[in-house]
Every structure is written in C-alpha cells, then in structure tokens.
C-alpha cells in the first residue's frame, strides 16, 4: 500500500507521519510537495499537522488552494483514502471536503497533552480494527481544535454516522471536563459520508510506538492497512 505525505510550506508533522507509515507500518511512503498535481500513484494521502502558511489568516485557509488539494479531492472521489491530522483536518474543513469549521480553543491556549478518545464508528477504513466504545489514549497538540458545525449539519453527521472519535474520560464517558477545546459534542474526528476521508485533531502518529509511551494510535494506521489488504485480497 502506498502512502503520500503532503508537505505544505509550514507543515511540521510530515516527518512524524512519514515515520509512522514507512517505519511503523513498513509501507512504501513518499513526501508530496504541495504543488504536485497528479497523486494517482498513492493509495492513502496523509495531510499532516503543522502550521501551513503560518496559519496566519485561519488554519488551513490558504493551503486549501494548492494543486495538491485539488488532486486530493479528485483521488478521494475515486475512493482513495485521505487522512487529515490536526492542521490536515483544518485544511479538509476549509476545503469543504469535510463539513464544519474550526474555532480557537475555548480557553484560548495551545494544548499539548495526552487525551482519551472514544471510538464512535468502527465501520470506516481508519477504525475497522477497533470496537465502538473503545477508549484510546492519543495526544493532542493544537490551539484551534474547537470544532463547530450548525445544528442541521450536526444532525446530518449523526444520521450518516460520520463521527469517528469523541473526547472522553478514562472510562469512556463523554463529559465536559474531558473536552480539551470546547468542541461541539466533544467531537475529535469526523469522516465524510462515504467514509474514505477522516479528519481528526489528535495525533495517531505520536502514539504508534512503545518508546513514545503509547501505542493506541497505531490502531488507525493498522486499520488503514487492513482495509486496503481486504479490498486487494
């Protein structure tokens, strides 16, 4: 399975995602410069975290116009997988590939810490090895992860089972205290309707090796590989 890690000026979790795909999963992986127009050679495109274009206007607002994002929209229509992490999630929202928008964290500070997530939907290419209700420990690191969507949009998300992860406490309870940023209904990650695009604020690449203190994030990476293996079996 071939992974492409998209690099914008200002991306900075590109190295981490490359390492996860290449070394942890052991799959062929390439960096993709944001000006590339043809991404058809990849099976999964990862939009990593960071501060594309400095995040100066709104996070992801400028990156979405890049040729690579146009190519990603095309590839996703063809059923390829797209994983947007942190800034990658923000870019997916700005580009309209996922619904909603991202506001400043309600406490206004950047937060980097481990968080608990409840897996809400295991019928996606990114979560198929998990159980619904399973609690994962995965770090967050962002100042703008306060997910916002209007009421109708939220109802749509739920109707189509698009909520992938919610912030929760150690026991899996969705509580206000376990919400690190004010995100609506503790949403931490969503998919598109088709399920082949996932955007999430927590960083699964930072929790994919024992030496980093936690391997819960590996579930996302290994699920991707399993899904691909199943359809190519």
């Amino acid at each position: 399975m071939k992974f492409g890690i998209v690099v914008f000026p200002g991306s900075n979790c590109d190295v981490d995602c490359y390492h996860a795909a290449k070394e942890v999963l052991g799959q062929p992986t390439e960096y993709v410069w944001h000006q590339e127009q043809d991404l058809s050679r990849f099976d999964c495109l990862v939009i990593p975290g960071g501060f594309s274009y400095g995040d100066y206007l709104r996070c992801g607002a400028i990156a979405r116009f890049s040729p690579a994002m146009e190519a990603i929209a095309r590839e996703s229509e063809r059923g390829k997988l797209v994983l947007g992490i942190c800034n990658g999630f923000q870019i997916l929202l700005e580009s309209g590939l996922l619904p909603g928008a991202m506001l400043r964290n309600n406490h206004l500070q950047f937060r980097c810490e481990e968080r608990h997530l409840r897996l809400e939907n295991n019928r996606t290419p990114f979560t198929n090895l998990g159980e619904v209700g399973q609690v994962l420990r995965i770090p967050i690191a962002h100042a703008e992860g306060n997910y916002f969507i209007d009421e109708n949009g939220l109802a749509e998300l739920k109707r189509h089972n698009q909520i992938a992860f919610r912030y929760c406490d150690e026991q899996g309870r969705i509580t206000p205290e376990s919400n690190p940023n004010g995100s609506i209904e503790n949403i931490a990650g969503i998919t598109n309707r088709r399920g082949n695009i996932l955007g999430m604020m927590p960083h699964p690449e930072r929790a994919a090796e024992a030496i980093l203190g936690c391997t819960d994030g590996k579930l996302v990476w290994v699920s991707i590989l399993k899904w691909w293996g199943d359809i190519h079996a």
């Binding site: 200002g10 100042a143 980093l212």
Partner: protein, 743 residues
C-alpha cells in the same frame, strides 16, 4: 533611496549612541580619521556590551572550553559536541530579557527565533528547545501578564516551527519584578560533514541575503539590551519586533537544503546589530573583507538610509556566502520555499567592510576592528556590603514547625515548586516524534532515529544560592544541570550558559559575575563538561536595583542505549527507595526558609565536587546496568518534596523510615536542600548489586523505604511526621499555578 549626509561625527553623537569618550577616540585611532554617521553607528552597536562582551570577556576566559568531544567551542554561532556515529549536537542559549519586559509575547517569540537561527546557521537541524524564565511574584497582575505572554510567545513561535519545546525552568522572585528573564536554548543535530561556518571565505564570492525584508525595527536594539531599563526605555519602544515563525520555518528548510547540497561556503544569521554584525563577523573569521550595496537590500519601509539598513535588527534573515556560479541554485531553492534571495555584494581581499549606497561609498572600515578589536575592560569587583549580613542565619531563631505534613503541602503549592504543566502543555513537546522523556522529569530526552542513542538536556540555576554566595551558587547551577542529565541515565557532555547579571560597572555586580564564573568553571572542570558557548546579558537592573545574579546553565548529555533511560516517577509497588548522598543541617537559601519564615538568607548548601562526580558516575553506570527503576534529584523543597514528586509522577505511594536520633533538625532533614542527593528506586532483586555499586563509587547510600500504597508517609525514628494521600499532594502541586493564573 533617501541620501544621507555623510558628515563626520563629533563626540556628542558618539555619546548619544552609547559610546564612551575613550571609545570614540579609539574609533578615530583605528580609522585614522573621524567617522561618519554610518561608521559611528556600526562601531556603537558592535562595541556595545551585547556584541563585544567588553566587561565580561576577560572573566569568561576562566571557563574550560576544550575537551575530547568538543568540535566547536565559543566563537561560532553555536557550540558543537561529538556524539559518535559521525553525529554531533549543536547547541546554545541566549537571552531576550529586555524585549520581553516590554512586549512579552513578541519579545519571547523573537528570542526563540534568534536562537534557532544560531543553530541552523551551523547547518544543524534544530530538534529541541528549552527555556529558562524568571518573573516577579504572581500576586501582581502585571507579572501574570508577563508570564502568560512570554509562555504564549515561546509556544507561538516554537510550535509553529515544529521544534519541540522539551524542557525548561520557571522561578518567581521579587528581584525580577522590574526585569524578567527570558533565556531560550536550542539543540540541533548534525552530521559532521554538514557543519557550516560563519565565514566569508573566497575572494570574489557573492554575498546573498535571504528571508525577510528589512524594516526600521530594532535599530540600536543591541545597545538597548546593554542598558538598564529606565523610564527612558519606554521611549525606545518601537524597537520591539514582531516575529514571523512561518518565515523562519521557510528559512530553516531552505538553508538546510542548501547545506545538504553543499552550495554554501559560509552562513550566518542576522541577530543583534543586524547586517553590521553578521557581515563584519563573517569577514573577520575568514580574514577577508566585504563589499555590500545597501541599495540592493529589500526593504519593507520607504526612505531607509544606509545607517538604518546596516543597523536594522529585522528578524528572520540570513546572510550566505556562495561561489558566483552557485548563486542561481540559491535563488532556485529559495524560490521553491517562497523566499527572496538577493545578491547584495561580494567578498574582497582588503579586510575592509565597504558599504555602498547605490555604488557610492557610505562607509568603509576594518571588519576585524569592528568584530574583534572592541574595547576590553577589567572592571573591579568588590564584595557587596550586604553580603555578609545576608549570609548570616541564626538557627536558634527559626522555629521548627509543628505540622510537617502541612508544610509539605504548602511547599508543593508554591509556584517555584508546583507543577509547571500550565507552562509546558502550551508547548508542543512531542512534534517530530522523538521525545521519549517528556517535560516533567529531571531532564528531557530525545531518541536519535537510526541509532540506539538518546540525548538528554536540562537547564538550571537557583539564583537565590548565587545571590547568597556567587561562587557556590555558580558551581551548583552546573552540578545540578549535570545531575539532572545523569538522573536520566545519560552522561553529561557539555555546557552552554547565559549570564544574566546587573550592571558590571558596579563593583558588587562584577564581583558576583566573576565569582559565579569561577564557581561554574570549577564545576565544569570537575565534571568534565566544557563550556562551548553562551551569552551574556548584563545591565538587568531597574531603578538601580539589580536582579539576583542568574547564570543559567544549559547541559546536554548522551545515553548510548535509549532503552536504559530512567525517569523520576516510582514504578513498581515493593521497589526499594534509596537516598544517595548525605543530608546536612542546611536551611540557608532554601525554599522552605522563604515560605515559612520569610527569609532569603544563610549560606547556600555546600557543594562537594568530588562527591558530585562520584554520584553522577554511579547514576550513569547503574542506569547502564538497568538497576534503576527511577531517579530524581533532590532540589528545591528537599527530601520531602522530591519523594512527593516521584510519587506523583509514578502515581504510586511511598513509605519512608528515616533514622535521625537528634542528628538534624527535622525541618533540615525534610526540607533542607543539601546538594548531591538523589532519590532512586530499585527492584528488590537488584538491591544487593546496587548497594555494591554504590560502595564501589564511594557514594553514601541509605535504604529509606519502599514504594507502597497510595500515600506519602514519612516516619522519623519510628514517629510518623508526614502522611498525605497522593490525591492531596497531587492537587496542591498540580493546581497551584493554574489557580494563581486564573485570578
């Protein structure tokens, strides 16, 4: 461009720029004529304390600067030490105190930007940031504004760059009320082959300026940083700069690509004194001259004259020297990253820095004179009149507290000891995916992908000790930084330091500076950790009142097998807890004395360097043999606080039985800050081997208890003196700073 009258300048304008009369005379002597405005301005910034170290240079020579691992000592943009496998660490610490006092967010942010440029100017990939911060007490709204602004600024810049901020320290003390300290340290990783130098070598080579355009910001920033903060400084306010971390990220990536492609002959960042210092230093190092045409420098503001362009301290700029045929490669690379690269001049053979303004000579002066022939003074030192009296401490007047549990809780919630999570959770400390010991242990550690190795880092200084006794305090700063690194299982390798002091022209301040350097040097020699660089920040005074002398020490270390790393938290129920080292009746300078008795007095704890060396060797070798489950150095708050911190970090209780029999006061025993002590925990099956090892290293080692239960319990001679649940101590420790900050 607005033309400048190149009239010759009198003594009056020299004084206005901060030069002393004899320095003005010296300029005339060097030039053989009277300087014009541009020339005089260039001398004034380069001969400021900040750039020329004129009051500190002689004293700095007392540091040991060589060693088997030192690839680059002081004199370049950053120090370099070998870590084997053809790899090296590049690291340095720098202050941004004055800018942060005026605009905390931008001051701290641009401080991070500056130190990061110093590291990648050497060709290294910056992999970690640390910082050392000092403010007044948090009961003032202004101090809270400074503290939160500085932390947000460091976060804003470092997070955007994608360099993890993995460690640091924060202290609050009245002496910093008018003068906060913000020191930032950066550590980079490099292959030996990629090491770049800040040299303008090769006559005929081109000089390329890349990155941000030049504005009027920070003109005379270097001289500003060398003056006391006063009402006057308020008027200099526009010299505050706004950082552009995105630009820096582009610059960083472009420069590293150019280094990788071997396109660069020499490279240097533009920091204090801007183009003036970078061009003169690069030429001086290579023994060449440079010719620059300021009319070609891309500007952000209109009508800038040569004086302003040469002195501007606009951030996020680098100066490169490349062969003429490689100029186009530089341009291409820069274009890829959206950066402007401008050919601004060339390397010459006459040793002169010739500044042209659209072809016309605007200044012509010796590069070496600017960069290295500045005045050097030998200030006189004198022990301050108050020194003896603050060292006196009459123990008989200090009442021993009744409720020691309550003292422990109070200590855990003083901001100097309380959890700094409020700070480091604002820093992305995990980006790049190599941080294997996160903030919250004695030292931070990163893995080096592709090897079994790890690097450990720490910054330390207890300035109250330095205030009470500069020599001992200086030595302790080095010893503690090294001890923190050793506690992680890594071997301490080398030191960078930032000397934050008051006005060195005052004999009592110079005494502090000089004695602290002597103490630091002694510790560096004993521990075999040479000094590879650093920075001096003097004139940290407001209204004539100097800060506590604060020589911040940044230490780097190496662990050969990262799987052998050690953290501070207790691990397993039933592990044996040992106290290494010896406790004396030493309450002087302790946090306890300040908190309970309102005293910042006494002799600081004494440091036995011999014991310190043995202790650190023991820690490294015990870690290597896999004998340590945890190790945590006894620092502020003493034994009781150290035990509590290990308990909190590991979420495990501890039961301690101490034998005292009247030997020490109970408050000394529990809260005194005797040096060279470490609390370790060891699995029961390894006890015998560990004790043997301690004996072999001549390190006093006492079994003091067991990891057990959900409380911290301390008994002395069978009598319970402390008993608190993990929940209680954790709450006190964790909530103190957030609580203060939410008022």
């Amino acid at each position: 461009m607005h033309k400048l009258h190149l009239e010759l300048q009198s003594l009056d304008s020299a004084t206005a720029m901060g030069l002393k009369p004899q320095e003005y005379e010296k300029v005339i002597e060097i030039m053989g004529r009277v300087p014009n405005l541009v020339e005089l301005g260039m001398f004034a910034v380069m001969w400021s304390e900040h750039c020329s170290y004129k009051h500190s240079r002689r004293a700095l020579r007392q540091f040991p600067t060589t060693g088997a691992r030192v690839l680059q000592g002081p004199g370049e943009n950053a120090g370099v030490v070998d870590i084997g496998d053809d790899l090296a660490l590049v690291f340095k610490i720098e202050s941004h105190n004055h800018p942060s006092a005026i605009e905390p967010y931008q001051g701290a942010a641009t401080g991070v930007g500056g130190i990061v440029r110093d590291v990648f100017a050497m060709g290294a990939r910056p992999v970690a940031l640390l910082n050392s911060l000092r403010f007044g007490e948090l009961d003032s709204a202004h101090q809270r504004w400074l503290f939160s602004g500085v932390v947000a600024g460091i976060a804003g810049y470092g997070n955007c760059l994608g360099i993890p901020t993995v460690g640091g320290e924060v202290y609050f003390n009245q002496s910093y009320t008018g003068n906060c300290l913000v020191n930032a340290m950066c550590v980079g990783l490099i292959d030996h082959a990629s090491l770049a130098k800040g040299k303008a070598a090769g006559v005929g080579n081109r000089v390329i300026l890349i990155g941000a355009s030049t504005g009027r910001d920070g003109i005379h920033g270097a001289t500003f940083a060398s003056e006391e903060l006063s009402e006057q400084s308020a008027k200099k306010r526009p010299s505050v700069q706004v950082g552009d971390p995105f630009m820096e990220k582009l610059l960083l990536e472009a420069c590293l690509e150019l280094i990788k492609d071997k396109v660069i002959i020499g490279m240097q960042d533009l920091g204090a004194a801007g183009l003036t210092s970078s061009s003169s230093e690069m030429a001086a190092r290579a023994g060449t001259g440079l010719e620059l045409d300021v009319a070609r420098v891309p500007r952000r503001e209109s009508n800038m004259n040569p004086y302003e362009i040469m002195l501007s301290e606009s951030q996020e700029r680098m100066l490169l020297v490349v062969e003429p045929e490689k100029v186009s490669i530089v341009a291409e690379r820069c274009a890829k990253w959206g950066l402007t690269a401008t050919d601004v001049g060339q390397v010459t053979d006459d040793g002169l820095l010739r500044i042209l303004d659209d072809g016309e000579v605007a200044a012509e002066l010796s590069a070496a004179a600017l960069a290295s022939e500045g005045p050097v003074y030998s200030p006189v030192g004198a022990v301050p009149a108050w020194q003896e009296s603050v060292r006196c401490l009459d123990y008989s007047t200090i009442k021993e507290p009744q409720d020691l549990s309550e003292v422990l809780v109070a200590l855990l919630s003083t901001p100097n000891i309380a959890s700094k999570e409020w700070v480091y959770r604002q820093y992305d400390h995990m980006v790049r995916g190599d941080t294997v010991i996160l903030p919250g242990s004695d030292a931070a550690m990163l893995r080096i992908k592709g090897t079994q190795k790890g690097i450990a880092m720490s910054v330390d200084c207890n300035s109250r000790y330095v205030y009470l006794d500069p020599y001992t305090g200086g030595a302790i700063a080095v010893a503690e930084a090294a001890r923190n690194v050793a506690c992680s299982g890594a071997e301490p390798l080398a030191v960078t330091n930032c000397l934050n002091f008051g006005n060195p022209e005052k004999p009592e301040v110079f005494y502090q500076l000089n004695s602290a350097i002597q103490g630091m040097a002694a510790a560096c020699n004993a521990l075999n950790t040479p000094v590879t660089g650093g920075n001096v920040s003097l004139y940290n005074e407001t209204k004539g009142q100097a800060i506590y002398p604060t020589p911040t020490v940044g230490m780097v270390g190496l662990i050969e097998d990262i799987e052998k790393r050690v953290t501070q938290g207790f691990k397993n129920e039933g592990d044996t807890v040992y106290l290494l080292g010896t406790t004396h009746d030493e309450l002087g300078g302790s946090e306890y004395l300040k908190l309970r008795h309102g005293l910042e007095q006494g002799m600081p704890p004494q440091l036995n360097l011999q014991l310190e060396v043995h202790l650190q060797k023991l820690l490294v070798s015990a870690a290597k043999q896999g004998l340590l489950r945890s190790a945590h150095d006894c620092a502020e708050g003493g034994l009781a606080v150290t035990l509590s911190e290990s308990a909190i970090s590991g979420s495990k209780g501890v039961v301690i039985e101490l034998i005292n029999q009247g030997a020490l006061r109970l408050d000394s025993l529990l809260f005194g800050e005797s040096q060279s002590r470490v609390i370790v925990s060891v699995a029961p099956q390894d006890n015998a081997q560990f004790e043997l090892l301690c004996g072999g290293h001549n390190v006093p080692c006492q079994t003091v208890g067991k990891v057990q239960g959900r409380s911290v319990v301390v008994r002395v001679d069978g009598q319970e003196v402390i008993a608190k649940t993990l929940g209680e101590i954790q709450k006190a420790w964790r909530e103190a700073i957030p609580c203060l900050m939410s008022q």
